[in-house]
Amino acid sequence: MENLVIKGSHGTFFTPNVTFSTSGICEISGESYLEESFEFYDNLIKWIDNFFAEGASSIQLSFKLTYFNTSSSRAILDLLTSLKGHQEEGKEVMVNWYYPDPDNDEMRMEAEDYIDETGLEINLISYPA
């Protein structure tokens, strides 16, 4: 099992930075506006599935996104739902959601909606923008 690292880019599309480490410390940051949102996030879901399948017991995923479009938002929901599934199977899942202050993109609200939808506990952490 290898770390998954995707370097964010800001070209025609905005690809977020992804660093998923086999240590269980994982992060998604930057902006997410992709050609194939589902494909991109399905890839992350698969990595996490394998990570747990190979015996890991805990993961900490931090979101530090500053913008995502609605099709990414749908794919991120799938990622969080999948994490909830792992938690229900007894894995330790911790999700941190960083939002800027002032919060022009209403990132905190987005996280609150995800908490509602998935039943997952998400730590909301503000940082000065």
């Binding site: 025609t12 913008y67 002032p102």
Partner: protein, 199 residues
């Protein structure tokens, strides 16, 4: 170019291209920040998006809202416009449409227009009417409901673009369909962002 396209090109009567048809009404009281008509391919979408962000770098809250609404409008046109680029190689077709951003004294106004089938027009009008009855909590609930629905094949988006536009603008979505021909309507969706909400 495919044979089919060649055929079309050969047999379309050569029309005079009258730019005056594309001229906006000259009215007092607003400033045009953007007027684009054409295919919404990825490059145009990103270039215009970045232009809007740069333009509003001094007022980031306005910039964030205008950018987010622009992206959703542009993606709707790109994926769902009934008019697509004839000259593309058929591997990928991009919807054609118009997006206008105007600045008025007390607000910014974003307008999108594109061709859709009559059925799509009715669907979108119905959805906008429902959206317009909801407050922000109602919109968030509608968004959550739509987002939790199973993925649709051939549906690239989250099916929540219109709801997101209303959440971001904090205003109603004005929607109008004008009969174009037997199959199509020209659909216009617009919304405003009040400057007083941006401080």
């Amino acid at each position: 170019m495919t044979e089919h396209n060649m055929y079309l090109l050969k047999y379309i009567p050569k029309m005079e291209f009258n730019l005056l048809d594309y001229q906006t009404k000259m009215e007092e009281g607003y400033k045009i920040l953007l007027y684009y008509k054409g295919p919404f391919d990825e490059l145009i979408l990103t270039k215009i998006g970045n232009y809007l962000r740069t333009k509003f770098s001094d007022t980031p809250k306005a910039g964030s809202k205008i950018f987010a609404i622009f992206i959703e409008m542009a993606q709707n046109i790109s994926y769902y416009s009934a008019e697509t680029d004839l000259f593309d190689d058929n591997m990928k077709r991009y919807g054609i449409g118009t997006i206008v951003v105007n600045e008025l004294e007390d607000c910014y106004k974003l307008i999108s227009g594109n061709m859709v089938t009559h059925d799509t027009a009715s669907e979108i009008i119905e959805k906008c009417q429902k959206i317009n009855t909801l407050d922000v909590e109602g919109l968030r609930n509608m968004k959550k409901e739509a987002r939790s629905a199973p993925r649709k094949d051939n549906h690239k988006g989250g099916n929540i673009g219109l709801i997101q536009m209303a959440i971001k603008s904090e205003n109603n979505l004005e929607v109008e369909a004008k009969h174009f021909d037997e199959l199509h309507s020209f659909l216009t969706i617009s919304t405003i962002i009040d400057k007083k909400d941006l401080s």
